[in-house]
């Protein structure tokens, strides 16, 4: 039988709209939240099917104190801080990287951590510090870059790692009695690295379906259908919708380089608090590429910003529009918290892609 994409999409939507029960699905990944908002899927699913945003935005879940540490590092005149573009405008407690840059701090945006290595090679007299933020999709690229820096015998390159891993955060979400989640739309590209096993463990423990989903509209609709089918049938399995990219075992090369370069450590997450074994620290073997070892990275306590509810948005406890600052005091031009600034942030997604009826 033949059916084209449009008809198939319609059929998937029809099945989703036929779901009568109350289900809450969490979009773990910020890219999913963006895609769901941009495509209008949120508006088309029935009201009994809730799509909650999750902690899958690495910039958003970086603790306030860590952001202040990073900004303080940028103030060191002997350092060039290299970062992904996303971090530039994230508000620290008193200032941001963008603001500091306008005051003379040497902060530059790179697209790839390998660019940072190249810049270190091109500027041997200058200390280049790359800010490592991201989950298991990005961390392997940083690990490879560290190994590349060593291969090239660079002495002026280091990484300030704020990398985190996703599965421990999902454990916290599942075990929080205040968070009602029935199933997870799992991040497609993180899963391409880590494979299905972490979700199989979660499913065993918490009996909630997990579907690794891609990012096209069709992928997301399929992922939702797979989840709702499991729920309607009372099943709980870990499945892959995104078969064309994700293999059960993940990317073994990426996992190996992660293991060589990083070690799991405790880390603080905005909204979720301290989670053991959720952060990636650079191994002792690579300590000469660890900015924490090379420099005095000042520690800051997490000072909560008055009124900022990013923590609750990140755990699906409230929707962005339920934050009192959303769209008023907090906008993409004048953000108060990272969720409104990060291009993966739930608040930014809700703000940029607002349905007509949902306008605050």
């Amino acid at each position: 039988m033949s059916m084209n994409d449009k008809e198939y999409t319609r059929a998937l939507l029809e099945e989703i709209r036929a779901v009568k029960q109350d289900f809450a699905l969490m979009e773990v990944c910020g890219t999913h939240t963006m895609a769901i908002a941009k495509s209008g899927i949120r508006e088309l699913v029935p009201p009994n099917l809730k799509l909650l945003s999750g902690p899958g935005c690495p910039v958003c879940v970086t603790a306030q104190g860590d952001i202040d540490s990073v900004i303080a590092m940028a103030g060191n005149p002997d350092i060039t801080l290299l970062t992904f573009g996303d971090m530039l405008r994230v508000p620290g407690t008193t200032t941001s990287l963008a603001e500091e840059r306008s005051r003379g701090a040497d902060v530059r945006v790179v697209y790839s951590p390998l660019d940072a290595v190249q810049m270190a090679a091109d500027n041997p007299g200058r200390e280049m510090v790359f800010l490592g933020i991201g989950f298991e999709t990005t961390a392997p690229t940083v690990a490879v870059s560290i190994e590349e820096a060593r291969r090239r015998e660079l002495s002026n390159f280091s990484v300030l790692s704020l990398h985190k891993v996703v599965p421990p955060a999902l454990e916290v979400i599942f075990s929080d009695p205040d968070i009602r989640v029935d199933g997870l739309i799992c991040p497609g590209h993180v899963s391409a690295v880590i494979g299905l096993e972490p979700y199989e463990i979660l499913v065993q423990r918490y009996k909630k379906p997990c579907v690794v989903t891609g990012f096209d509209t069709l992928d997301i609709l399929e992922g939702i259908v797979m989840l709702t089918r499991q729920l309607r049938n009372g099943e709980a399995r870990a499945e892959i919708q995104y078969k064309r990219v994700v293999k059960k075992e993940g990317n073994l090369v990426a996992r190996a380089v992660l293991e060589r370069v990083f070690t799991l450590a405790d880390a603080r997450w905005r909204g979720l608090g301290a989670i053991p074994g959720s952060g990636l620290n650079i191994n002792d073997e690579y300590s000469s590429y660890d900015a924490r070892v090379k420099f005095q990275v000042p520690d800051f306590e997490d000072k909560p910003i008055k009124g900022c509810a990013c923590g609750e948005v990140l755990t699906g406890k409230i929707t962005p529009r339920e934050c009192l600052l959303f769209g008023r005091a907090c906008t993409p031009v004048q953000p108060i918290g990272p969720c409104m600034v990060s291009h993966e942030g739930a608040c930014a997604a809700y703000y940029r892609y607002t349905p007509l009826k949902g306008r605050a």
Partner: protein
């Protein structure tokens, strides 16, 4: 979290990099994480790296759920040709 774009591998270089095509734009990426990749294959690109090889379309129909849709959905099967 996961911004990745599909790209077609045009040529492999000796230094573990490749030139890939993203809808007409050519990008140089590292293939350290996808050492088995060959020219002509499609990869997912993220932060200057080829992260995964994207499996060929034929092997994995995007309409994987089609069969079961007939059960759940309201599509009359006789309207479609085999």
């Amino acid at each position: 979290m996961c911004l990745g774009v599909p790209a077609r591998v045009l040529e492999l270089n000796d230094d573990q990099t490749a030139v890939v095509d993203v809808q007409g734009n050519q990008v140089k990426v590292s293939v350290v994480l996808t050492p088995e990749v060959e020219a002509g294959q499609h990869v997912l690109v993220h932060a200057g790296f080829a992260m995964e090889i994207i499996a060929a379309e034929e092997a994995l129909k995007t309409m994987a759920l089609l069969e079961e849709l007939m059960e759940y959905g309201e599509m009359p099967s006789d309207e479609h040709e085999r």
